[in-house]
Symmetry: C2
Subunit: 252 residues, 2 copies
């Protein structure tokens, strides 16, 4: 038969073995996103397995974001770069089964975001700074009701996610973006006040505006301090509103 580890003793199933073989093959060949993989017919010949088995293997890889398939002439399977959104979804699956509290998330944010802000001081272009200013425009006026306040909160999370994307530290950027995604999609507020808290709104907006200035001026220490205050304030706000993390999957 093939040189693949057989399914003897019941362990690995055939599609899994094929998927791993293809994975290894991509690494060995150093294939890049967009590169062609062999078509179904070719894989059937090489592995000496049926069409169904090969297709199941491709589904395993597709779920991980490692391949994308296209129909039609010139179609087939291609190496696919694992996107940020997909990686976020897959990781969220893990935390679905863990108990995660708002405090857990903010413990990480408070540790990471000030450090990231400091590292970005003086590194942003005017265009990037302008984009950040533009985001803050979405909440430049105090919210009129609870619903609007929630919308502003979501928008302010976009500020953080975007800022993280400007970092050239891919690990830091992913984690911060992931946490912002969780807070945006999986958070429910048990006590959203009918009367929005204008005091906290003013304070939060002030933080972000002065943060942008500090980043522009290359004031790393100031940026770090402002971000720390901002994070502490955001955590208090979430605690006030008795926010909790919901248990559901993030849509891909």
């Amino acid at each position: 038969m093939s040189d693949l580890p057989k399914t003897r003793s019941g362990r690995r199933t055939r599609p899994v073995a094929v998927a791993e073989a293809i994975k290894d093959w991509v690494v060995e060949k150093g294939l890049q996103p967009g590169d062609r993989l062999p078509g179904e017919a070719e894989l059937i010949r090489r592995f000496e397995m049926s069409k169904g088995t090969i297709r199941e293997a491709m589904r395993l890889l597709q779920a991980q974001g490692l391949v994308v398939t296209k129909t039609g002439p010139g179609g087939g399977s291609f190496v696919g770069e694992v996107g940020r959104e997909r990686a976020q979804s897959l990781l969220a699956n893990y935390f679905y089964f863990q108990s995660v509290s708002i405090d857990d998330i903010y413990a990480v944010r408070i540790a990471l975001e000030p450090a990231m802000a400091a590292s970005l001081a003086g590194k942003l272009t005017e265009a990037q700074l302008d984009e950040l200013r533009g985001i803050t425009a979405a909440y430049s006026e105090p919210a009129q009701d609870a619903e609007e306040e929630r919308a502003q909160h979501v928008n302010s999370l976009i500020f953080h996610a975007r800022l993280a994307e400007f970092s050239d530290n891919a690990v830091m950027a992913f984690i911060i973006g992931f946490l912002a995604q969780i807070l945006t999609d999986l958070t429910v507020y048990n006590r959203l006040y009918a009367e929005p808290n204008h005091e906290l709104w003013r304070e939060g907006l002030g933080h972000q505006l002065s943060l942008i200035e500090a980043l522009r001026d290359g004031a790393a220490g100031a940026a770090e301090g402002i971000m720390r205050e901002h994070m502490e304030m955001a955590r208090r706000l979430m605690q006030d509103q008795e926010a909790v993390v919901m248990k559901r999957f993030i849509a891909e």
Copy 2:
């Protein structure tokens, strides 16, 4: 036909639609890991789709770690808790396509691990403290050669991963464990010195031992400071050895 969104306009393929439907179903029913899912025959009836299509859907879920299947009587598909190792692998797939440097990883470790150490001060049981002491025993003597030095380094990463697992903050624990995994599996040292650096060995071991004491005594500030020094030292060590992150997939 079925009530599922059809494949019209070419978007979602049928197995993907089925997989999403099952995912939603698990959330709605509040199913827990180990709970039974409908068998193949049942799913074929419900979705009015062929066996092959249903099986491809199950492979999509299997790749995400959300279901496991068993053959034989009493077998079938079950809700599977997404394990830490699998989540790490899936996330590593994402970073495979990003450029990640040792400095990027350490920027996160330096921000997170001291905070985690502080939060664990006074919270560990004697058994947990003993386990940490046991891990340090693996490098209680200076390394004789470069290979042994690398083994000690890997073991000291186990110290950090295990410490993170003692945290009740699942987010913090996962991130720290993930970074330790990356450093263990994907790091290559370009200049592993023929002569192991006894100075740094002594310093590193001292850090971990005094960290254990600080944790036992509930000295949060001390634990945080020691961990910060320890992280800075580890980063310098990696820089000295010109360590780099390799590009390959982590085996599942």
